[in-house]
Point group: C2
Chain length 803, copies 2
Amino acid sequence: MAGEQKNHFTMGIVDDLTGHSLPEEAAPDTAPTDMIQCKFWGLGGDGTVGTNKNSIKIIGDHTDKHIQAYFQYDSKKTGGITISHLRFGDSPIKSSYYINKADFVACHNSAYLNKYDMISDVKPGGTFLLDCQWTDAELDAHLPASVKSYIANNNVKFYTINATQLAINLGNAKVKNTVLQSAFFTLAKILPAEEANGYMKYMATKSYLKKGQAIVDLNHAAIDAGKDALHEVAVPESWKDAGKTAPAAKLEGKRADLMSFVNDVVVPVGAMKGDSLAVSTFAKYADGTFPQGSAAYEKRGVAVTVPQWNPEHCIQCNNCAFVCPHACIRPFAMTEEEAAGAPEVTKFAAKPVLKTNYKFTMSVSPLDCMGCTLCVKACPVNKNEKLGTALEMKPIATQLDQQAAYDYAVNNVSEKSELVATTIKGSQFKQPLLEYSGSCAGCAETSYARLITQLFGERMYISNATGCSSIWGGSAPATPYTVNNATGRGPAWANSLFEDNAEHGLGMYVGQKAIRDKLIGYVKELREGCKSEEKAAVIDNYLNTLNDGKANEAATKALVAMLEACDCENPLKAKILAEKSYLSKKAVWIFGGDGWAYDIGFGGLDHVLASGEDVNVMVFDTEVYSNTGGQASKASNIGQVAQFAAAGKAIGKKNLAEIAMSYGYVYVAQIAMGADMNQTLKAIAEAEAYPGPSIIIGYAPCEMHSIKGGMANCQEEMKKAVEAGYWQMFRYNPALKAEGKNPFTLDSKEPTASYQDFINGEARYTRLAQQFPERAKELFAKAEATAKAKFERLKKLVEFYNV
Amino acid sequence: MAGEQKNHFTMGIVDDLTGHSLPEEAAPDTAPTDMIQCKFWGLGGDGTVGTNKNSIKIIGDHTDKHIQAYFQYDSKKTGGITISHLRFGDSPIKSSYYINKADFVACHNSAYLNKYDMISDVKPGGTFLLDCQWTDAELDAHLPASVKSYIANNNVKFYTINATQLAINLGNAKVKNTVLQSAFFTLAKILPAEEANGYMKYMATKSYLKKGQAIVDLNHAAIDAGKDALHEVAVPESWKDAGKTAPAAKLEGKRADLMSFVNDVVVPVGAMKGDSLAVSTFAKYADGTFPQGSAAYEKRGVAVTVPQWNPEHCIQCNNCAFVCPHACIRPFAMTEEEAAGAPEVTKFAAKPVLKTNYKFTMSVSPLDCMGCTLCVKACPVNKNEKLGTALEMKPIATQLDQQAAYDYAVNNVSEKSELVATTIKGSQFKQPLLEYSGSCAGCAETSYARLITQLFGERMYISNATGCSSIWGGSAPATPYTVNNATGRGPAWANSLFEDNAEHGLGMYVGQKAIRDKLIGYVKELREGCKSEEKAAVIDNYLNTLNDGKANEAATKALVAMLEACDCENPLKAKILAEKSYLSKKAVWIFGGDGWAYDIGFGGLDHVLASGEDVNVMVFDTEVYSNTGGQASKASNIGQVAQFAAAGKAIGKKNLAEIAMSYGYVYVAQIAMGADMNQTLKAIAEAEAYPGPSIIIGYAPCEMHSIKGGMANCQEEMKKAVEAGYWQMFRYNPALKAEGKNPFTLDSKEPTASYQDFINGEARYTRLAQQFPERAKELFAKAEATAKAKFERLKKLVEFYNV
């Protein structure tokens, strides 16, 4: 079987700049005539790839056929697309290109028919299988014109199946793919029907026996159900004249540079047509920069349920927005005028925003939501039955009308600066500058990152380590980091290598600092010759706030306005204005995961922290190298199982925080948003304010942890982790030491919950108990003792640092 | 001027294995006819290179000539050879090869005449200048036959000069090279004599004015003295028939593999003939391994004075041997028989070795000694005037007779195992397995390393980071790590890269462990079937001592002897004996400097310490990247000046020890041999005994520190550093924690001496005060405060770790 590889998108192979032309279609089809080619379009995580791997094993093991399988992915962490390319034949298979003359194409998600051109991959006379809930009459209404005419004019055998409903009927929507696998074997006829049925059941038993007989039986039932559930569509003669589907209209927006990028690159790549883009399309981006904010135009609509806001119960705390990983639930405060212009579907709270006359709305973007439910769970109203339900999950179809309300608010309602504050509530009145990223539903990393962009995004540089955060932060060509609507400014983001991220971020800092220091010199010179008291005050205000990010932002604005208005001939003025974007204090952040910070990039991280320079490091600590599919890192805890550490890690978690504290001049914090939102906010604000190196280690529960109940419980899991003494929160602020105070604050309380109960709620631990019960017992006891000792040590550190 | 580069030795360019042949002589001499080529042979550190750089600048700046200079070095840290290749001409110079058809050759050290073939580089009719104190009659007696016949038969103009005596007469032996520079200008006639004299004086003023007018005047006097001090030798007709110098006899020794390496490679490379070695010479060493112990055959004889042992005053404490960097002063305990066989010049103490009948001698190897005087300064007798002088420095010529005594003892006197102990005295009765390395005279690093080889050398693996320790540890082809005379075993040493040394060492450990674990499995299997009580006891003793290095060494010996003697047919026996060298517990050490441990290799070091594996790390902390000529490292202290940190480091020393302690399961110690020999010994022994990762950070004063009085004060400087609170000694032993004891021991006492006085004794600090007095004041105050705070912190750590 061919290797599996995650593909991001592939660049065009038509080089119209150099004149070399190699269109995709020219790829030689060396397929022997006996070869059967099959292609499956599925939703990432829906099981399509898993069952296809299963199918290929059955055919490889039980027939004389040669086989080949290749799985093509986009780079989205959840809700992306997967395309399986399977080939079978009597001769060895050496095809090294995507299948585009398929004997069989299956579409496992009917919504894809409008997004992707998959029908033209079916060769004339081939078979097309569509999973849908439509009757033949509904098919006629729902199928795009191009699909209908291709089927009819190419003699395509067209089948439908309602696998989703069949699976639900069997009692578990997840077995949909087993149903579809069975249907595939019926249609493909590679093995006699009975034989195929037997092998599928054998493989299902093998795969699921450890999950219990019930799951095995369920899958066997799905196999039986799938084989006979096919419906062959009698293709109407009229489809021959269905013509072509009209091309989608160009997307529109305010920023011309962004919109040309969206229409020229993002849309075709999103339609899996990236391979056919001409090289010249990328000429504008040859320096490697992409415009910010293109993710907003993906509007993927992959959630099954999305939150509905019930204004009558809302207390306007903004907790929901505070935890949202994808920034698709946002509070807005509208003036009367803004409210008047809002679409009718817009809902408003009865009470205005506290102490103002602004009308309050909590807007939800159904098409951007991933359906994680974190907002619903974070709602304090929901937690008290007596108060009613302020937010609840509803099927996406029932909420699509809210998209207009959301789009209006995002594009037309101004930020109310008097409401913005470094509080849970106040921070959410600031536009998030990380939105709709490619992260998993419920991802903790993005909740942290989104919050940071709300606090400093307009004056922020981000250097990103390779890892999940570089994938969701830049799922090329979608760019989720964006700009503020009013100022047009947002984080400058770059990803260098896994191993040099800290150094790369330090370079960003030092580079801008060199320019800024030069400009500060000019401003000082200007001040010396300044005779106007009024102007001198503006200059002084700038010079007196150099190290205060927020104050300097306003002071710089005033300075630039003053200089631009001034009609003097001082050559310093032009010099300063030529590089005015470097005048204000920047917030340089270095983002990365535990694999980077604890292991591969640690040498550089240590060097950068030691440098004493004013950079801020945010470690998204999932403890498990999430992006590479799970390995033990030095951040992993005792007893944790990972893909490449099946026997559980035997050694404790590295004490990265204390290592950083050993310098004495590094700000250090450990946080867990779901356990203490205020502590999280405080740490981030203190880190940025501290005029030296800072590092924040944020606990980030992750898909790879297999939390009981899934990522819907991500924020809750953080709370549990702290209560069980699994994770500790604290802050070490050297600025306090300079004031003669104790720099170390332990923010966690004595653990109140059971450590063992906590780790029993995560399969990354329970897996060890299943496979090596004795070892698990020993390691888990050791883990608990280590955690207890760590807390005792932290309490002693309070004493140790006491002055 | 061409770049300067440190050359190790160059491999042969005659490839007689492949048939490709490119002898050195074939290098095209593209020299334009107007080009003058000059070659100077000097002793590293004697100033030859410095004055030649000076000369080339004078000619480049004040004539129309094109110039080229290239400086060729061996890899010895002190007392190596330097060859300057200078070219001048009217056309651009593009010669890219060593000079071998010189117009002028100068030999600045008459001893070189017997070691190197330099005369054949003089082209017929060229000039040869020899610095010596010989009369013409003496010349005839001292010059090798080949030199005489070459001079006479090639019409070489031959001059002598007694520059050494002239310089001494002027009041400072160091200006010898200024005398020789002046002589060169007189002979070379590139500039008119008066002009050359003026420029030399101008350059001397420029170079030395900051050292005071007296030094300027001294150099001007040397310039005047040199120009007229030449003596042209009337070459006797008889020299034409002097014939060839007889080739040196092959060196002899017990180990055939070593001796062929010494004679085939070490000797020719030592004679600077490495370039002419054939590729086939190296075929035996194609896997990169060189035999251990070749440095013992260099017998460089570079010291001016060496210690003389006065047995009547000696108290047999062995302190002298304990500090010796080059292992060339060693105590021996001889039986009556051994003593009877010793050369007559052997001196013995009146008293036998305590509690034995062994006769005691302290042997000195004059030809291996570097003349550092550390032994004399370490002698407790010398410190008390009333006790007389047990050791004193004497001109080497007066001590050469002791070489025979030393060689006899080293080669013929057995180790007395009952005297060997982990004490200062006892450790020195063990043969050092690091001897005569290429390190600087007085080097602290080698004192530590030598001691470690005495404790564990026979079962030791060393992975060495790039840096000084890789140069003195493997000045190819000289190998200073050697084997024990009796067992034939010694450290297996390898140097990978600067950045991966810790990982490389971990690999060494894991590799041998995998083999050993397999063998242990065989031994256990053997034990199960063993019916002899006696044999079972031998096996049990092996199995019960697996983690105890010393005990397991003896147990393994017994096990192997038992197995070899056994006539059973058990196939396990053969399997075990086939890999018997892996049976015993090994001591894996990872050596490196501060540049490696604190900076470039730190990421890997951290990873290896975190691994929990049983490796031992020794950091030679010179605080200054010694090998690359001095940079600020994270080990550097506040206020320290280095070649690439001229304004003094502003940030404190990294707390590497505490970082390692943060793991809890890493043994950590900071030591300073000269401050506390016992603490050093204790830490090294504990580190090796601890069955997990260990790291020792050893303070290592260095040439680059420019200590007042030079490296003769190296060990004293460590004592001062501790007394002034500049350096702290402590040990953190996780094994104690497991016993319920406080793992942390602070071995330093409250500082009693002035911090400022201490740093004022090292030019790496005083340089800052000279150049930036204000900044120095500020940084030095900060440095002192930081050191005080560090000691307070350590005291608090004693409390913190108290149980």
